[in-house]
Symmetry: D2
Subunit: 136 residues, 4 copies
């Protein structure tokens, strides 16, 4: 079974805007939270990966906003992999409100591993194996 991680969060006041709802940039941060939790549940810390000199640069991000989220709403971010290659990793996300299951947003991000010099590189074997396993 492919891994689907669940990250819960509560909408921060600072994330809301004059329309009284979460600003659309907040969702981008929530997806990142989902992604780092996913890695942890897949068996590694994103922080360790970076400590080894490999970053996962975002090359594309998309978010579709389905319903507004309000201050203090409790949300869950469901994160899964949609592709794992040595030089490219893709995630997909669903953000739902816990109280009523409402779909708040759907998102996707594409990443490439990069070395400290900013050049594209390959995922180290052990991390590649863990991600492949989480996708299976």
């Amino acid at each position: 079974m492919p891994l689907v991680s669940e990250s819960t969060l509560r909408v921060r006041y600072s994330e809301t805007d004059p329309m009284g709802v979460a600003h659309h940039s907040a969702h981008i941060l929530w997806l990142e939270n989902g992604r780092t939790d996913f890695c942890r549940q897949a068996g590694f810390s994103y922080r360790e990966l970076e400590a080894q000199g490999v970053g996962l640069a975002v090359v594309e991000a998309v978010c579709r906003y389905r319903a507004p989220a309000r201050f203090e709403d409790e949300l869950v971010v469901l994160t899964r992999l949609t592709e794992v290659r040595r030089k490219r990793v893709e995630f997909a996300y669903r953000v739902q409100r816990l109280s009523d299951g409402a779909l708040i947003a759907e998102g996707a991000t594409i990443h490439i591993p990069i070395a400290p010099d900013g050049k594209s590189c390959e995922l180290p074997d052990s991390y590649f194996a863990l991600l492949e396993k989480a996708l299976a």
Copy 2:
């Protein structure tokens, strides 16, 4: 000629991450800056539109990251309309570095006018006319 607005900005330290480059969420804020400047150059203030009870909710945002931007880089956001309808407005963006013209990112956002109750509504005539003119 369709209006293409130019917004300049300097990458803030707070916008950069441990990889030493602008975090991918910062670009989303820059696109918004581009959009509000575009409206101003098209002849109205986004703030006035909201004061009239009409918000432009973001229903989709996409950003493709082409090159990293670093702290203190001066950037320009080029913003143009790609579609204007009574109940839907689309913008496209290019973010470039001023010093060398490097393409930093391309983005697009889709918006729907919403009333204070959060329901979809039509753009007021005067704003619709100004946006149509900016697209022509």
Copy 3:
């Protein structure tokens, strides 16, 4: 016994900077998290208070940074009241790392209740009573 609320959070990647530690603006958001959790534990939702037309504007914020917090560090924000008056409320905060108890930061904020017109007003009786009880 005065109420001391505990809010746990994990340092987000987006909150860290090129020095590899949480940017000093992140702590300001964490204090706000602590404050809204405090209100909830004191018996009311800050969202309800706003819905009644009363905001708690920040008139002063101070933060002393004692030790760096890193990406993925789990932190706890301890929040308590230091003063409750009809037209002024003060909070104090300690941010600690869960793994080793290290003191990350100490903060304080001063707030005044404001009406929708932005003018200073008095806290509604029921909220004043709940805050007084939480201070006792």
Copy 4:
């Protein structure tokens, strides 16, 4: 004459909150903008200083909020030094609205130079000299 740098900025939509005014965390970012502009006018780039392995860690920040700032308000941040020592630098700030000169906020930050290992260090001679000159 002591250097007082002027940084202009326009309040971003993403910086405003449900009360329709700039969230108090935005001011902290504006002070940082003021600080980096100050360094540039004093003769060096904060980015270069970091490239030499010296960061200016914030050990204390305080902000007093005098009047609300609204979306699209044009502001100026006036920044000056209040103390320069080898191992400690202090800045003071005034944030004013350009249209009417209204005082929006006053702030102060205290910094210590730190080495890449996070330990306190001394400011390199050339930077210390530039800051001393800017204070004189």
